[in-house]
Amino acid sequence: MHIARVDLSYFFRTKWLLATLIGLNITDMLVVGVVYKGMMGSFNYFTFFAPGVIVTGLFFASFDVGRRVHLGLTEGVSQYYLTLPVSLNGLVLAHLLSAGIGGVIYAGILAAIAAAFLPSLASFGTLILIPYMFVLSMGLAGIAAVLNLFSNAGERYWVFTEGVQTTMVALSTVAYPITVVQSYFPSWFVSLIELNPLSQGAEALRSVVSGSASSDASFNLLALFATSLALMTIGVVSYRRVFTKLREVGKI
């Protein structure tokens, strides 16, 4: 827990990062959401888009654990952790836990801001979703763990992160309904977008906002939980390998 707390505090201490993230997310939610709403007539794009932005925020915040681990590996803090009386599994879980908590707290801030315009977000349904969002957050951190595993050389991590984050947001229903994708792309591509944990998270939040998922994407909480758990398992395996490799080869 000590490592999880320190790791998490490092995210919130990086103030320029937080300010940039919050600035971008709020700009997206309020400016893009409101402008598009005005352009789309009867379709309330803000109601559709705000949950997507909240899940994107959760994604970026939980993914930040990859940056922290990358810095820890390159600056030797991870080596220091290996000298403390903590097991390998304990160290791995601490990082994933801090990612999970960070993602939920950050998404909670965005949800609170959005709730000023979407009162239905401040409901019991949102509270029910918190444990699922927490597991989703840890699952998304699992993807960051994979990047940590395959990007030990200097700047490669940042390139991979940019690529993965952009691709995952683009290939999701965060910004557009699944019906749009169905009109233009083959079914396997549609399935891919539906399976994207960001789509599943966004749809879960939309179901709270509007009472049901606002698109045709097949959605249920069990699928969200299962996908998150699978990614989390990949994260555990990846971080175990990262730290085992560190003990074999020394400083990365």
Binding site: V6, V77, Q79, L82, T83, L84, P85, V86, V249, G250
Partner: protein, 318 residues
Amino acid sequence: MDNAVETLGLTKSYGKAVALDNLDVKVKPGEILVLLGPNGSGKTTLLHLLATVLKPTRGTAMVMGYDIVKQPLKVREVLGISFQEPRGFWRHKPSHILSFHASFYGLSGTKKSEVVEETLRGFDLWSSRSKRFMELSGGQAKRLEVAKLFVHRPGVAVFDEPTAMVDLEGKRMIWDRIKGLREAGSTIIVATNEVREAEYLADRLSIMKLGKEVVTENLRTLKDSISGGDVVEVEFSSPVTNEISQAVLGVPGTVRVTAETESMIKAFVNRSEDWLPQMMSLVQTLQTKVTSLRVSEPSLDDVFLHYTEDAVAEKPNA
């Protein structure tokens, strides 16, 4: 427990490069063992292996009875390491860093705060406690790195170049604290390539080269092990004859004799303390007079260079 630390054929390779080669070193409880060696001699690798930061390729080591391969968690409970390069979270303050460290060793609440404050003050970091780690000077960051071990005072404390980047005053303070830690019961291993540090701290010295232990002994024995290492300048009241030179050369322990001036010779001897009484007897026998004597023993620099430059150096007790 005969040894606080014992390495058993400890080997670490990175691909084909062997960083540590089949090392067998023993450290007695409560002693300060200094590892002295040039860069790349395997000192840091050894410390990282003992601290379980690295995994050995072959062999193992026992730390306070725990196996570093089979019981790394137990080893981490009894051994602490101060890294060569300070390890800290850039945006955290010294007090947070020490407090975090203390949390792992059963300290909490008021007791933890007291220990952290005492340690910060003891290492002259109290006034910098609110600075972020990235704002500390090199010397302050290094002192903070060393200070970590004084928060929990491990049974085995391992320091990797503890005074690198530290000013002269700070060096002496750290050395005295390390000695104090030993007095309090810890076993200490210090890796350094600073001869003065080694000379100040070491109960025993282990000279390493290319991943191997060249020799491990106390400083006195190491100095005595250099053949002809003690230099005695003898000035006679009359010119030195060939007969005198030959007689001096015949004194047991003399390696060679050179003429310095008409009336002075320089004798290169083993163990001057044994040689001098015999020399004095010789002077009486030769019925001559000695007007001055000057004895100098080899420095640790000489010892270090002797063992690290000579790849086939013999161990003193071999």
